[in-house]
């Protein structure tokens, strides 16, 4: 690797107008990244797209008929888009996301503002405590909360049963959405809080002092000055929460052994997993994967557009 850059390293030579020649060094620096990017992002997506256009057909007839993989056009996409399992999964995802995303961001912003406020105590302890769930994998978080939901081990049900009200049905009916969303909120608040908080710390204190001198209360300073100034961080955390929502898989899968209310197709990724591995219908799973990926991309781009901020755009 020591001979990477013949293009620019000619010592002492008068500036040979580096710009007119194409330098070799940046391409060499980028090689490992680009190779891995191609292998594990571009090629899998390409392969999935190709596979999604194929399907198994019985060719020939009678005893000699055999299954053959043939080109079937957009048939798999049509099948995915009309699959009741896949679509109702998106419905559940929407309910789950409508609970999880605003609450995660709202709480993260609230805690970040409280950490940054002059009127709170116990900041260091609270910041650390709220950040701790970030270190707990989603699957393990689901395991912990799952036991806190189960009637036989839940402390809440312990109390309500003692009062004669019976156990709380955390894992069935409409409560299930809140229970699954709660796991995501618990795991996500701390990380988002830290991003927003670091952003708050970057606000020049003169701006806030000026407002205080003008008689603004601490709440007014928070809402009128701090929140607008950390809007880019809010857009970013919102984007990540949304992307995370579309990809929820581990939490409901882990809770499945504890409840019968979570079906095999509760969210879209679970349907994809079932189609690929239980039903062995890889083309259909590939088509659904492509749809989910496209959906994620569209949602992200729309959100960024809506935010009208150049959140990622300092490229040129």
């Amino acid at each position: 690797m020591s001979t990477t850059a013949p293009a620019t390293a000619t010592a002492g030579a008068p500036a040979l107008r580096r710009r007119t020649r194409v330098p070799l060094a940046p391409y060499l620096f980028l090689t490992p990244g680009l190779v891995l990017f191609a292998l594990f992002l571009v090629v899998p997506i390409g392969y999935a797209v190709w596979l999604s256009l194929r399907g198994l057909r019985i060719s020939g007839g009678g005893p000699f008929g055999r299954r053959e993989e043939v080109f079937v056009g957009f048939e798999n996409y049509a099948a995915a888009l009309t699959s009741a399992d896949f679509l109702s999964g998106f419905g559940r995802l929407a309910v789950y996301g409508a609970i999880a995303v605003p609450l995660t961001l709202g709480l993260a912003l609230l805690f970040a503002l409280l950490l940054d406020a002059t009127t709170t105590a116990a900041k260091r302890f609270s910041r650390t405590a709220i950040f701790i769930p970030y270190a707990v994998p989603g699957v393990i978080a689901s395991l912990l909360w799952g036991f806190l939901y189960l009637p036989t081990t839940s402390p809440v049900s312990h109390v309500t049963e003692a009062l004669g009200w019976g156990s709380v049905p955390f894992l069935s009916g409409a409560a299930l959405f809140g229970s699954v969303a709660n796991i995501a909120i618990w795991g996500g608040v701390g990380f988002n809080m830290i991003i927003i908080y670091t952003s708050l710390r970057g606000i020049p204190s003169e701006v806030q002092e000026a407002a205080r001198i003008d008689g603004a209360s601490e709440t007014q300073v928070a809402l009128r000055i701090k929140v607008p100034l950390v809007a880019p961080a809010l857009v970013l955390t919102g984007l990540f929460s949304l992307i995370g929502t579309l990809q929820v898989y581990g939490e409901p899968t882990t809770l499945r052994p504890m409840t019968t209310s979570i079906t095999q197709t509760w969210v879209p990724l679970m349907t994809i997993y079932r189609d690929a591995f239980t039903r062995d219908d890889l083309p259909l799973a590939a088509a659904a994967s492509v749809l989910l990926a496209l959906g994620t991309l569209v949602v992200s781009v729309v959100l960024l557009r809506l935010a009208q901020r150049r959140a990622f755009g300092d490229a040129a």
Binding site: A25, F37, F40, T118, A129, V136, L148, A285
Partner: protein, 298 residues
């Protein structure tokens, strides 16, 4: 553009005492809200630590937060399960997350440095491709990656989990933002004039300046890989190659038919989250989270 400058160390560390403005008297309500949040986050962790001390009988019969008497038995059972499968899962998680995060950090730093400090044809195209990758991360790719790995015959091996974990578009993006701000043009130019090769300029001059950003990328990747479930779940079928997440899930999934495994899953969860929490608390001070939010305002 001004904000890109702020990551480079004028700000007080997050943990520093709030010295920048006079302290007002703490009020009860805001402090209480903050403490409720802290409590909410700590309760499940406290529960798993308490529950891991309960014997199988106590788990379903005593009050949730009443400590039990079975901690040593549970630990013994855990480490004996499947001929030490739990320790193997720990080792696997450490392998995937440790090696994966180190390689990912190096790859990201090299790529980010190239994108930030050179002008060359195709640079913008590559950068936009990376951004596309940021918006389309990991999990939706797990099934397509599985299809590819099975074509390559790597499915089920350590490689099938390790290799896809190395590429991180977000890591490259962060490295680019950080390199643009932390490595001054003149320093790179000076090294070149002194006759250093581009590689040597990178390793001897740029990398020391990039270190805080690299630590951040490392931690994000380490936690991300450690917490990943779907990728190893899809790729692996041999219990001996499972990371902790998939291993503990398998205990829980079997537990619905065999309640004894519930205790194992609980004590396993307790044992496995403590080291990561400790690591995170220790490394918290080296994090440059402002990198994530700071790079945006540019």
């Amino acid at each position: 553009m001004s904000a890109v400058g702020t990551p480079v160390g004028t700000r007080p560390a997050i943990g520093a005492p709030a010295a920048r403005r006079p302290r007002q008297r703490a009020r009860v309500l805001p402090t209480a809200v903050l403490l409720v949040g802290a409590l909410y986050c700590l309760v499940p962790v406290a529960w798993v630590l308490v529950a891991s001390t309960k014997s199988r009988g106590e788990l379903f019969s005593t009050f949730t937060f009443a400590p039990g008497t079975g901690l040593l038995d549970n630990l013994g059972d855990l480490f004996a399960y499947g001929d030490g499968a739990f320790l193997l899962w720990c080792a696997n998680s450490l392998l995937y997350a440790g090696v994966g995060a180190v390689l990912s950090t190096l790859v990201s730093a090299m790529s980010g440095y190239a994108l930030a400090k050179f002008r060359f044809p195709g640079r913008d195209a590559i950068f936009y491709a990376v951004l596309g990758g940021v918006l389309l991360p990991g999990i939706t790719l797990a099934i397509p990656q599985y299809l590819l790995m099975s074509k390559l015959g790597l499915m089920g091996s350590h490689w099938s989990v390790l290799l896809p974990s190395i590429i991180s578009p977000f890591g490259i993006y962060l490295s680019r933002v950080y390199a643009a701000a932390a490595v001054p043009e003149e320093v790179v130019e000076a090294a070149r004039i002194d006759g250093a090769s581009e590689w040597r300029t990178f390793t001897a001059v740029a990398v020391p300046m990039l270190l805080p950003g690299m630590v951040t990328v490392f931690m994000l990747q380490f936690v991300g890989i450690w917490n990943n479930f779907l990728l190893p779940f899809v790729m692996l079928s041999d219990e001996h190659r499972y990371p902790l997440t998939v291993g503990l899930y398998s205990l829980l999934a079997k537990g619905s038919g065999e309640p004894a495994l519930y205790s194992l899953a609980i004590v396993g969860a307790a044992v496995s989250i403590l080291p990561l929490i400790a690591l995170l608390l220790f490394l918290q001070r080296f994090w440059r989270m402002d990198l994530i939010s700071g790079g945006l305002k540019g």
